[in-house]
C-alpha cells in the first residue's frame, strides 16, 4: 500500500504497545497517520471543521477498537475502513457541508496561492457534488493513490465495481470541469 516494510514493522510494534494501553504508542501511531486520516476526511466533507470531527471520531474509534485488531488485514486497510465509515456516518447524520476554503499551506507566493486555491476550490466543489460512493473512490484513488485492488479491499466490494465507479466519476468530473481546467 503506501507504507514501506520498516514503517509497517514499526506500526506493528506500536499497535501491540497500544493494545497494552501504552499512551505514548498511541501518540506515535497518531503522528504517523494523522495527515492521512484528516486528508480523506477533508476531501470527503469539503469542510475543515467537519473534517476535524471525522478525524477525531476515527482516532477515538481506533483507540477503543485497537484491541480487536488481530492483524489478519493490514493495519492501513483497517484504518482506512475506520475513516471511510466515519465519513459515511457523518454524512448520514445529515450535516450540511460547505465547500472548502483555503487548504494548502505551502511556500508559494500570495498570487500563486490565490490561483491554486481557485483551482483547488473548483475541483473540490465538483468532487463534492459526486454521490458519496463515487466521491470516496475518487478520494482513495487520488488523495491516497491506492490501487483498484486496495480500494476494493477497503470498501469491501469487487475490483470491477471500483473500476466502474471511477469510470463514472471521471466522466462526470470531466464534463463538469470542461472549459475550466481540463
Amino acid at each position: 500500500m503506501v507504507l514501506d516494510a520498516p514503517q509497517r514493522e514499526l506500526d506493528r510494534e506500536l499497535i501491540e504497545a497500544c493494545q497494552r494501553g501504552d499512551h505514548d504508542a498511541f501518540a506515535a501511531l497518531f503522528n504517523t497517520h494523522q495527515d492521512r486520516v484528516y486528508s480523506i476526511a477533508l476531501r470527503f466533507s469539503g469542510d475543515p471543521s467537519v473534517a476535524l470531527d471525522i478525524a477525531q471520531d476515527t482516532f477515538l474509534k481506533l483507540l477503543s477498537k485497537i484491541g480487536e485488531f488481530r492483524g489478519e488485514a493490514k493495519f492501513e486497510s483497517w484504518l482506512y475502513r475506520l475513516v471511510v465509515n466515519s465519513c459515511l456516518d457523518h454524512r448520514r447524520a445529515g450535516r450540511k457541508w460547505s465547500p472548502l476554503a483555503t487548504l494548502r499551506a505551502s511556500g508559494d507566493s500570495v498570487l500563486q496561492r490565490l490561483l491554486r486555491t481557485e483551482v483547488e476550490e473548483s475541483v473540490q466543489q465538483v468532487v463534492a457534488k459526486l454521490v458519496p460512493e463515487l466521491r470516496m473512490v475518487v478520494i482513495l484513488r487520488y488523495t491516497e493513490e491506492l490501487s483498484y485492488d486496495q480500494i476494493a479491499e477497503i470498501l469491501g466490494c469487487p475490483t470491477g465495481t471500483v473500476a466502474s465507479r471511477l469510470n463514472r466519476a471521471h466522466k462526470l468530473l470531466e464534463r463538469r470541469l470542461r472549459g475550466k481546467h481540463v
Partner: protein, 93 residues
C-alpha cells in the same frame, strides 16, 4: 479519461497537513465524562448507606441477644438506675 484530468485530480486532491488541534481533541475525551462521575458518586453513596444500615442492624441484634439481657439484669442488681448499655456492649464485643 484524459491525462489532463488525471493530473489535475492528483494535484488538487493531494494530502494536506492536519491541524494541531486534532491531537487536543483526541486527548479530551480521556477525562471522565459527567455521566461517569455521577455513576461513581451514586455507587459511593450506596456503599455508605449500606455500611451504616449493616452497622445499625448488627448493633440492634447484639442488644437483643439473650446473653446481653441476662448480663444487664445481673448488673442491675448492684447498679440499679445506672446506664449500663455502653459497658455491656463493650463486654459483648
Amino acid at each position: 479519461m484524459s491525462k489532463a484530468l488525471e493530473t489535475l485530480l492528483h494535484e488538487e486532491l493531494g494530502r494536506v497537513q492536519s491541524p494541531t488541534q486534532l491531537w487536543d481533541r483526541v486527548q479530551l475525551p480521556r477525562t471522565p465524562c459527567p455521566a461517569a462521575s455521577l455513576r461513581l458518586a451514586w455507587a459511593a453513596a450506596l456503599l455508605v448507606v449500606s455500611a451504616v444500615g449493616l452497622h445499625t442492624f448488627l448493633k440492634n441484634e447484639a442488644m437483643r441477644s439473650p446473653g446481653v439481657v441476662r448480663l444487664q439484669a445481673a448488673c442491675q442488681l448492684c447498679h440499679s438506675g445506672e446506664d449500663l448499655q455502653a459497658v455491656t456492649l463493650r463486654g459483648v464485643y
